[in-house]
């Protein structure tokens, strides 16, 4: 009996003693813990990989960032004027979560004792935090700035008011400076990871945005106290100079140059760049995303171009100079030039961007395919976009594997030129270092520092001003042409305060008798049609387009495909003058662009959640 008691008491004692806290602690087995994570290079890489995949758009997304330079089957909310303060936009919980993820890195990265490794990835996170806030400022102007993880109970932080855009952009530039300092020159993955030049290139982009935005929107200067006590005046000029310096530092590094060779003798380097399957090692690619057919990592850019029938606008087409360097309006009858004539003797980039008569819609390495006519199944208005179009196998949904450059050297050159032009300090020498390189590659004469503003450009960009207005306009022309459909134009128009043309209604010029008659009526314009009838648009001797009003003619040339038989008044397409004129999309859509539209509305439910501390952008209340 005694023994039983012993056993019992010992068992009870053991049970009780082992009942300490650790006995009841069960840690997750098949998942990792933040306490031990962030310590190795592999782990830091895994963590920072997240940012690449959340904050960088997919190639497909760039096709959707539309402005007035091209349109698609469906117009964007900006173009349609349907944004409301009920939409969440980037002010969503998940998007702010990306910032949280970045700040979690800074909170935990001290787990990594290898300073060299840690520093490298700190650079990555500085870059992405800058990118995050740059985007937020683009959308919302003033935003609350957080450089640490906010706790659920930290009400002061959670419910804080917005920080001024100047302050935030200053922080963006600081992050980019730190990124440039900490990031390596290169990675073994090449341009598919961000390096220090990428950070400087983004700095030139962001600073140019802020500098021009402040200039054209008359944003008041702000004072910023640096860590060392000195006070910096955040002005338009200050940002522009930052942009110029950043671009200069990339240029002077000598690491990058324009891609001038072509993988195929049948087309030029400019077009070739956008259908390369691998940008690694490409001299122009500073920061890019790789797609791979065997890994099934693909995008749908080409499918979208086809499916959404992305089409350039005539306004954009008129940006292209003639091949002799003269503006198009100098050419006799330019305003009513038809499709074929428009492409003759123009900046060669035009035929490398839009489907030209007698050209191939697809890249056909062996040039065996039939010469294509412009296909109204793939365009709304005759100007079919072929930039980024590779061969036919990429045309199905999500089958493209061409790489996409987030940042390419050409942009840096354009940022450089624009910053100095806006500062009024652009010289011929600077042009020769920047725009000339682009012109050389395209096969165009160099730009001579202009002094007289081009009247057509002045009409297109009425708000532009500056001591070097003529130069500003020519730099813009170069930028619009070179960077077409790469996701820039919408934001360019916003920072330049040229919002009107972004809507179908605003696409009409303010002047009653504009130089460009296509701008005398609202709507996005396409190719010029003298009247109903059959056309041989590519001058190959066969009719390939029918335009008719009312009932279809009883006999139609068999060479005209059914998709190229256009009925006026159908599918939102009209002719600008009724029975003739420019093919017009959405002439009837009468949306108004006002100053409020330069910023996105803060979601209403967020304003309400803050109980008055969070203010709405003007005009969106």
């Amino acid at each position: 009996m005694k023994n039983i008691f012993k056993v019992v008491m010992i068992s009870a004692a053991v049970l009780t003693m082992t009942a300490c806290e650790d006995f009841l602690t069960k840690t997750p087995e098949t998942s990792l813990s933040p306490a031990s994570f962030f310590s190795s290079e592999k782990e830091l890489e895994l963590w920072t990989n997240y940012e690449y995949t959340t904050l960088l758009d997919d190639a497909t997304d760039y096709a959707e960032i539309k402005g007035d330079d091209y349109i698609g089957r469906s117009l964007s909310a900006i173009q349609k004027g349907t944004r409301t303060n009920a939409t969440t936009g980037l002010w969503s919980q998940s998007h702010w979560g990306y910032l949280r993820h970045i700040n979690q890195f800074f909170e935990n990265c001290s787990n990594c004792k290898n300073e060299e490794v840690r520093t490298k990835f700190e650079g990555v996170e500085h870059f992405f935090r800058a990118l995050f806030y740059y985007q937020m400022v683009q959308y919302y102007g003033d935003v609350p700035y957080y450089d640490s993880v906010v706790g659920s109970a930290d009400e002061d932080a959670l419910f804080r008011a917005r920080d001024s855009r100047g302050f935030v952009m200053k922080k963006v530039l600081e992050d980019l400076d730190l990124a440039a300092k900490k990031l390596p020159d290169s990675w073994s993955d090449g341009c598919f990871r961000i390096n220090k030049y990428g950070a400087m290139a983004l700095k030139s982009r962001a600073a140019l945005f802020e500098g021009t935005f402040r200039k054209y929107h008359n944003v008041a200067d702000e004072q910023y106290t640096e860590a060392d006590g000195t006070v910096t005046t955040l002005s338009s000029e200050w940002f522009l100079r930052q942009a110029a310096d950043a671009a200069q530092s990339v240029m002077s590094s000598g690491k990058y140059s324009l891609y001038t060779s072509s993988s195929n003798p049948n087309w030029k380097a400019y077009r070739d760049f956008f259908q390369l399957e691998d940008l690694k090692g490409n001299p122009e690619a500073i920061f890019a995303k790789h797609y791979d057919v065997t890994l099934a990592i693909r995008h749908g850019l080409q499918f979208d171009l086809k499916n959404e029938t992305y089409s350039a606008t005539r306004r954009f087409v008129n940006h292209y100079l003639c091949s002799d360097g003269k503006p198009i309006q100098d050419r006799e009858g330019w305003a009513t030039e038809q499709y074929y004539e428009q492409f003759q003797r123009r900046d060669p980039r035009m035929a490398q961007t839009l489907h030209a008569p007698g050209h191939f819609g697809y890249l056909d390495p062996e040039m065996k395919g039939a010469v294509e006519i412009t296909d109204f199944a793939r365009t709304l208005n005759g100007y079919r976009v072929i930039k980024g179009v590779s061969d036919g196998s990429h045309e199905n949904a999500t089958t493209s594997t061409t790489d996409w450059a987030y940042i390419r050297y050409a942009e840096v050159l354009l940022n450089y030129a624009e910053a100095y032009a806006e500062l009024g300090e652009l010289t011929q020498g600077m042009i020769d270092k920047s725009i000339k390189l682009l012109r050389d590659r395209a096969g165009m004469p160099n730009l001579t520092l202009p002094t007289t503003p081009d009247p057509l450009m002045a009409e297109y960009y009425p708000n532009a001003n500056g001591t070097q207005l003529a130069a500003i306009l020519e730099v813009r022309r170069e930028r619009v042409v070179e960077l077409f459909a790469e996701g820039f134009h919408l934001w360019d128009m916003i920072r330049w305060k040229e919002g009107g043309p972004l809507t179908a209604a605003g696409n009409k010029s303010a002047s009653a008798t504009p130089l460009d008659p296509a701008c005398s009526t609202p709507g996005y314009k396409g190719i010029y049609i003298p009247g109903p009838g059959e056309y041989d648009t590519d001058h190959d001797g066969k009719k390939d387009l029918l335009v008719y009003i009312g009932t279809a003619p009883s006999s139609v040339s068999s060479s005209i495909p059914t998709t190229n038989r256009i009925k006026v008044g159908e599918n939102s397409l009209t002719l600008s003058e009724g029975d003739h004129g420019y093919i017009t999309r959405d002439a009837a859509e009468d949306y108004v662009w006002t100053d409020r539209d330069y910023l996105y509305p803060v979601p209403l439910e967020q304003i309400q959640a803050y109980d008055g501390k969070l203010t709405q952008n003007p005009g969106w209340e």
């Binding site: 009841l24 098949t30 895994l46 919980q93 890994l295």
Partner: protein, 1186 residues
Amino acid sequence: MLTQKSFFKPLLLTFAALMLCIGANAQVNLSLKNVKVSDAITALNRAYGYSVSVNSDDVDLNKVISVNASRASISDVLDQIFAGQQVSYFIDGKSISVSKVEPKAKPAQLTGVVVDENGEPLMGAGILVKGTGTGFISGPDGSFALRDVIFPATLVVSFIGYSDQEITVNGNEGHIKVVFKDSMNLLDEVVVVGYGTQKRVNVTGAVSVIDGTTLSQRPVTNTAMAIQGADPSIIITTGNGSIESSEYSMSVRGKVSLNSGSPLVLVDGVEGSLTLVNPNDIESISVLKDASACAIYGAKASAGVILVNTKSGVGEEGKASINYNGRYSISSNTTSTNFMTTAYDYIMLTNSFNQVFQGNDAWTYTEEQIQMMYDRRNDVTENPERPWVIPDTTNTYTYLYLGNFDWYGWLFKRTRPETEHNVSIKGGTKKMNYYVSGRYLYREGLFNQGAADNVNNFSFRAKLNAEITPWLHYSNNLAYERSNYQYGGFWEQDGQAGLVEQGILWNTTQNVGPFYVPYNPDGTVNIQPGFMYGATSPLFSGRGGVWTNDGNKNARIKNALTLTNRLTFSIAKGLKFVADYTYRRNDNVNTYRSLPTPNCYDNANKRMYVGNGLTGGYFSNGSVNDFYREVRYYQDGHVANGYFAYDGTFGKHNVAATLGANFDDYRSSNVTVHQKGSLSDALAYLNLASATEISTLNESNSAYRTLGFFGRLNYNYAEKYLFEVSGRYDGTSRFPKNHRWGFFPSVSAGWRISEEPFWAPISGVWNKAKLRLSYGTLGNQQVSNYYYFDTISLDKLTYTFNGTDAAQRATMSSPVSSSLTWETVISYNVGLDLGFFKDRLNIVADAYIRDTKDMLTKAMTLPNVYGVSAPKENAADLRTKGYEITVSWHDAKKVGGKPLHYGISASLGDNITKITKFNNPTNLLTDNYVGKTLGEIWGYHVIGLFESDEAAAQWAEQYDLSVVNKAELACKAPYNMVMAGDMQFENLDGDTHMKDGKIAINTGSNTLDDPGDRRVIGNSLPRYRYSFKGDLAWNGIDFSVFFQGVGKCDWYPDANCVYFWGPYSYRRPTFIPTSLQDNCWTEDNPSGYFPRQRAQLVKNSVVNDRYLQSAAYLRLKNLTLGYSIPFKTKAIQKCRLYFSGENLFYLSPMKKYCDTVDPEVATTSAYGDCLYPYAKTITFGVDITF
């Protein structure tokens, strides 16, 4: 005291040891020759002082004997004195008493009669000589005759509906009369409670007991189904009628938390599942309902406890008893499966619906083709003169389909057999007993086509109980269950829906019409008929031909093993220590094999797909791919208990105490492998993967531990004043260190008023009255195992940095409140136990309030800048109020000269749960809010259907109907307006909301203060759960009937519920209830229930009271009729043949417009209620005991 010589010595030794008796050891010297017995007694008295008294006249004192004893014991001397006489003697010191003993009983016949309390003979009573195989069933006159009985013997008399009685017979009683007393003697009934048992009379908490015999008499395949309706506090929702029986949800007294919280199920003290217990093994089930009963289980018991106790062996010498219980059953649907099967009627109806909706036909047939259907409309089977599939003369397609095909009958089995064989053996000796049982169960599933659809269940239980020493008992309990469920279909649906049947069943409800047949005349599988399409139909495009292809095979194999070893130490009188250890292991393997369909013909594109799925050329669209997937899951559990139990009586003070500890440790592991493409069609193994096509490989492990210290103290005075205090201190690995431990106490008291002296005058009529009161708190720890941890997870991306492999990325889990801790459940219970007319009438009633505090819900809404969802906090409360009452009556009457025993009982239970705290400051109706009753349904009031187009137009002038009549307005012109036969919704909030100059009928701000024109129109939770039971036994026949129902429950049919809505739900429904057409409003039928015929109307319409269905029901849950054959052989102790019907019929107001959905299933579905049908089961069975 009667002893026999042969037993004398050991008894004497025992007495000597205990009583220090000297007599036995005294040495006697006595020598006498040829003297009388009486003289010898005198001599013994003189020599040694023994006084011998002879108690019987039958002892011959004059018999001449001789005694020759030297240093002999007194008993030896007595043996010599009484040599040749059958006597026994009792020696107490120096005094000896001698009695005559009857001649030693030879095996003899015993006859008798069994009668009831009123003296009426009972037929069919079982009489068994305990410890032997000798038995008899009483005849019509109640008589029985047992041969070869060795006396004294104990008879066990049993009778259906009564508990067994034991009678001792000495053999000199002659023709015996066994009076069968009414057995409901609640005074001695023992109730299993946490870590012990209590006498029913002493229970102070709310505990109800379900007797195992009532379970095993019903042909239910799992225990979960069996306890439905058995106690009014229990709500069992079987997710569907699936044959696998794996999915059920149960609540005791309603929902305990907005989070999970289901009752703790303990099988013989170890956590288990009701579906894994063989119902035949169950001795009893205790339902612990209030905090005082549950407190000893602490943090797991907040939602109530179900204690399942299995049968044990018998502890007497003797032969084992073997029981065989076998049955054959046929299941069918409880609901109607009458759907339209005539193509002509079907086409006319669906086309007419769609003309209004889209302005065209749902199916593009020409008039001639429809005429051909008309010609065939009476052909239930195909008439060779008018084939159902003919060449398409318009040459648009190859085939034209004109059939009257019964798709329901083709896809599904209308009747489904099942068989069960159950064998149990029990027996033992005084020191050891055993119970062994085995069951085989086979059930067939619903699906008629494709791979086999059935489940094979094997279960086995072995229990052993042994006395090692008088102070140490050992017992073990081994249970093993295997379930092998095989079914067809394809994994994607299973993966999406969680249960294969739901997704696939729902898919079958669309896009097939009776005109169509599964196979073309050339034997090819029909796909893409051309004039119709349906991407999600299981037969047609999308998942082409899945039911024609038995290559789609899946299985779920479950193995569950539980092994308990227990030692019981008897330490001192009334005090014991129990220690046990249980190992539990569940091993599950789920396999999924999919193959595309070979031999398909695409009628639309005139294209043939041949091949066998490997060689290409087969039809495969989207989701049915060639793959094999395997999921392996196991769970290891270790449970240890150690506790002291004390039971003592001091005069009128009765004390019982329990004190101990419980330790649980569980770990589970799950590995999933998914392999694309296989080298074999027939075999499914991972190593048959083609090339490197392992596309998914995932492992996840999870573990938790709990440790609890519990105690209970019971005290009562004379079993009149009862008190109980119990509590548990519980710790769990699921909460962070500082919030890990919780203490959950309870107190309860009872007063048996009827035991008071002042009650005596009325106790003849009202014999029992007891008041019970309890209060206690419990915890709810039902969060996931690692909920409070921040974890880093990795996922693979469609992003590459190097072009050689896809990148991975790391993220951190959403933050969790650092103060995360238990939800607390506080409950108050008051109960009454009443008995009248010597317990003929019994009433048990309980009323309770249960408060759930600190429920883990979202806290305040944080701004988006926080970046993740706000962590959940212990921030909401709810309160449940309810009651249960059970009234029963049982008695016996004489009917037709034979005794009739009968009993009836009725029970009723109800509860209602309201939210008392919730963070929803604006009281948005899309969320919970303070004051919300769980289950409430918000909707509009429909005044009626517009009588005329003019009335509708007038109404539309006045009111903005864009919300409530959205679906009507979206129809194709000229039907894009409200018209005669459309629903007219009432405007309840005046002109509060205006739109375009009209009064808007809408949801207002969708808040409690401004709900617009919506009101609470019903509640989807079952109220007033009731049941009626009746049983009677007469002349060997037993009969029982069990009705069960719900008094109030509302169901608003989901927009996907084709079984209810037909074409109002989808424009091309497979199944249209035949009754629907007659109930539609038409100009000729202006009183129709359903509105104007508009296809897909309900996809865009609003919840309203017109089509709210009352899912209240009364169901004949079970009816059993049995007959016990009175065998006159000792080999068979009992042989009962029975018929039983489960869910035989139901009554429900719902039936008026919908007899295709069972009311019990209707309210539980996430799949538009197109679920695995609820089964009606007819059973024939035999129950034999050897």
